[in-house]
Symmetry: D3
Subunit: 246 residues, 6 copies
């Protein structure tokens, strides 16, 4: 159900049947020497395909640029302001609603997009109260991640190019990982990083926030499968909620 492979004559009925559009959204961002700049796009796409396959959703073309403030000074990063990103997602949402979609699930591969996605969703919700909007970033994986991880987390709310994210890639997009170059980093993120604008070059030169050498496909699988299961439940729940209000 790749949306852009559909044609205009057939798609109308299919939308009415499916109701659900999934937007993979990622970023072009430094991920150390062993992961590509497009890591977050690859993850968002692969997750979206998996989720769509089980929910009858359409997968939209990936929005491959995101808000990359923290790493924007690293080679290869491209950053979009929150304002631009909010407007762009909002516009996509308006069209989706007008085309007949009633669930708009954004599957995110890059935490920096979270603010814009939530804000765009709120604007769309104010405009179209019966539009179900989901902003999804590996929902409900906290516990399984704690079980799976060997190294301590570098930060309580984000992770980057580390044991965890590298494991995701090994499970979902192994071809793009060069484990030979994985680094065993252990950055010390100061408490102040949570309360003051802090470009990441102040505490890491590699952008790898953990011991990437500990990554395995199996670790990725365990966490990702939980995330996918949760996303499916949330989308099915949203679809049911919409149908209940019809």
């Amino acid at each position: 159900m790749i949306f852009q492979h559909e044609n205009s004559f057939d798609v109308k009925d299919k939308i009415a049947q499916s109701l659900v559009a999934i937007l993979p959204i990622g970023a072009v961002e430094a991920h150390g020497p062993h992961l590509p700049l497009g890591t977050d796009n690859l993850l968002a796409e692969r997750l979206s395909e998996r989720v769509a396959a089980q929910t009858g959703a359409f997968v939209l073309p990936t929005l491959p640029y995101g808000q990359v403030w923290s790493l924007k000074n690293f080679p290869g990063s491209i950053t979009i302001t929150n304002e631009s990103l909010i407007s762009f997602i909002y516009d996509i949402g308006v069209s989706l609603y007008e085309q007949g979609f009633r669930v708009f699930a954004m599957i995110n591969g890059h935490l920096g997009n979270a603010v814009a996605m939530k804000e765009a969703a709120r604007k769309l919700f104010a405009e179209f109260p019966d539009f179900k909007l989901l902003y999804l970033f590996y929902p409900g994986v906290k516990q399984v991640t704690e079980e799976v991880r060997e190294a301590k987390s570098a930060h309580s709310s984000y992770f980057h190019a580390c044991e965890i994210e590298t494991s995701y890639m090994l499970y979902l997009a192994e071809d793009y990982v060069d484990m030979a170059r994985a680094l065993p980093e252990d950055p010390q993120i100061p408490m102040s990083a949570d309360v003051t604008p802090t470009p990441w070059e102040t505490f890491t030169s590699t952008a790898v926030l953990g011991d990437a050498t500990l990554a395995t496909r199996e670790k990725g699988e365990r966490i990702i499968e939980v995330a996918i299961e949760n996303m499916i439940k949330l989308i099915e729940g949203a679809k049911d909620a919409f149908k209940a209000t019809e």
Copy 2:
């Protein structure tokens, strides 16, 4: 040279060497029964890959949403406002410049994006006077198109899902074309369509602006090769112009 497949450690030197970033930009838009909604994205991507291969440019991830005002009421179309699109492209451009690129070539598959691309380019040029900005939509193909086409053009400045665009697809992305469903349309576009807001449903129910059954791979090849040659020349010229000012 797929930019998002590069890694942050190696990419800095490569950018300094290449200097050129290509952004494929298209749209999700109705293209009749025989072409997919993502036709403009597919064309922009394939053209970009071809041009990059001969210019040493990096191909950025495709920006797959565009300004689709005229066809927004057709099934499957997604439209972005000019304001949002300008801001988004501008932000990408700022990052590209800061990353070391000095030529930013947007290869466009959808005419509706032309205004936003030009406006974004002008804003970037005002900010970074030595940044070479190209907005490219099949440059310099007017003459060869006239030679190649069998049916009369439906409009003097645009074409859509017709003999021409279908031929492009047959040459660049044949797998996505279903010639069995190609329609021999001959819409009459009133003069007023050029001077008043005119959603296309007022003159076509199919979005096919011509006789798509006349499309052939060979026609596509003849035109596309001219376009590619011109894009290469323009990019090489821009690169030379930048180097001359260093």
Copy 3:
């Protein structure tokens, strides 16, 4: 029917009768040594008066500032950003609609305004679906221009202070033309000018894009009369279209 010469007590009924407002829109812009900075304003005004006389339309005060990006570095040019121009025209349109006008015809003397006019028209159309909006720049004169011109056109889509525009002025505003200073230019506009931000000082020092010495009143008359005839048809068509929907 000069709108600003009307008074508030009588105008309401007249608007209900006329339905049509014409906004002349031009620019203050370099036009070489033989034409004044206000050339585009003069042309827009004279055209508007002629068209109004035959359509029963009101002529609004001229909006005498426009988007003059390409020539903004030439002495005397004044440029308005697209954003400002769009907002300003949009506001005028809202008032016109609320005052009872149902056809808003912008008669343009300066190609640089085209983007803003079209964008403003689309915003107004989205707000007031039964508002007929026309953005007119010498409509339908392509063929007669080719017949009339002696010198080759410097560019396929624009002309400036040349044989053609000078002829327009000789026909519509002869007093403001100093043919003794007309220049026989033949600028070479590079292909790149269509695809990259290109201030015109890069290819002309005079802003005259052609052989102005070839201009005659008669040439102007032949083209202008076609333009006027087409504008009248378009306005009458719009008026009829509105009445049909009442």
Copy 4:
């Protein structure tokens, strides 16, 4: 010194000599049965010409649309939002500065423009600290007006289509006044009109705020000559102030 009648070849030196640009700014607005909708434009233009003649300033084309909130519901009024008006004036100012002008005098015929003019002036002043910006609305006429008027003023800070403004018109643009239709109004403007949004239809049906039958050319002359004298002094003072800082 009509700016738009100049040509691009000669104007550069003249600007360097003159330094001063005058922008007449008015409105299209209901002014009762005896004055035209364009009253404020006519006044601004005539004043500007007079002032320019004595200061060596250039008169720019009139900006004929203004902020007409209070009277926007009267037949014939056209209103521009403050945001649009600020941006538009700001853009004009930027071009004037870049063209070499160092004094930008806005001569206003419509009080409703005051907020936008002041705000635009402040933005330009922040951008170009040596740019002298004047927003002029009959400066320094308070005393002479008190001496001249026969009827009591309807409001302490504004006047409209009344004894005073009609006298201005009789002096500056007599041909556009129809004294036979002048009304002897005496509207009671409630105190609340100064402290709450108050469309004028709540206290007048004619838009005439006073006894227009008392207007005479002589009254107009006495006040207008004071205003002109003050405007000349202010412009000369600004020119001197600029020269002193060079």
Copy 5:
């Protein structure tokens, strides 16, 4: 009736009963050596409490930052742009309306806020036609002020840290006044200050626009009581006007 001391369970009925919300709005701004930076906030708050006590209105928390362009270069001043201030007040107003308030009275202690308050009020009025909006700055005190003052006013429309404002403070917030440091200033404000951007440091080094040593509690009382009486009348009038339209 301090709004923020109410609780959510009881407040709904009280709002329905009161209908009136008062927003004290001031500024942080230089007021010479004898008055504090928060003078305008203190005055707005004290006035609001007095007015609320007699109208059954709720006093909202003070908005303590305002537009302080003229004095922004003096030590201690904090300035908010008009754009930001308008948006902020507008947002407050939207919530007040949705909470059930039908009269929104802004009691202002700082003249610089007047433009933003009026603009925000107009936007709210356009959105909610039955919302009564008041922007109040010592209404109706002109005559009593003339009677009370001993020194001549430095300017016809504003006063600052002088005999008058210091008297206000002596009456309403005496503890914050240090009369021992009051200065007997007599600044000469040039006519140009009304027509060109004029930071006040160009005509005063103290920000005291008059003879503050002449201030007395009694003078303050006489003027303030008139202002309070007028504000009460205006609020009661607005309440009655709303009830009449229900």
Copy 6:
């Protein structure tokens, strides 16, 4: 060190000495029957005073309105959009920097403000790279909160009007708490609340997210003292960091 009680003559030197401005920022928001609408303002103010006393910082007037999206439909709530809040805080920051402050610490009492505070801080950081910006919301209290609390937390990242927040109020602003009306709530917040726009009325009718009857002054003291200690450290660290770069 109450900033608005200072006067303009003395404050300049004091700013140079102090370098640190603290902005208390809260909200007007439903907090159940036992806590006032201004709870977050009271907390922010009291915390700010405590922190200022030990750091030599100035306390600015409280910004008493915040982003209250989730509870905006509860009686008494007032909400500001993120856009307005970002602009307002940004403007304050610009003035603070220009006044000589080099550390701008926002002490927040309302989690909903977090996005706007961070965004404003980033904009200020981009503009003034040596400006130290802190957005503080009970930093570093996670562990002590877990030790102190008796009831399970209703949500992993926010708390509201519950055991915890009520304890804060008992410690910092006891007079405003009515423990007799404290409710022992135990709302079930669905997983979907984190991933879809979810007004809180969908899962609570009281806005109390926990057992408020368990609140004690002692619990509040234990957590608040940790927060204060951390805020002092962060501010001292920022001051030192600034001095190191001078």
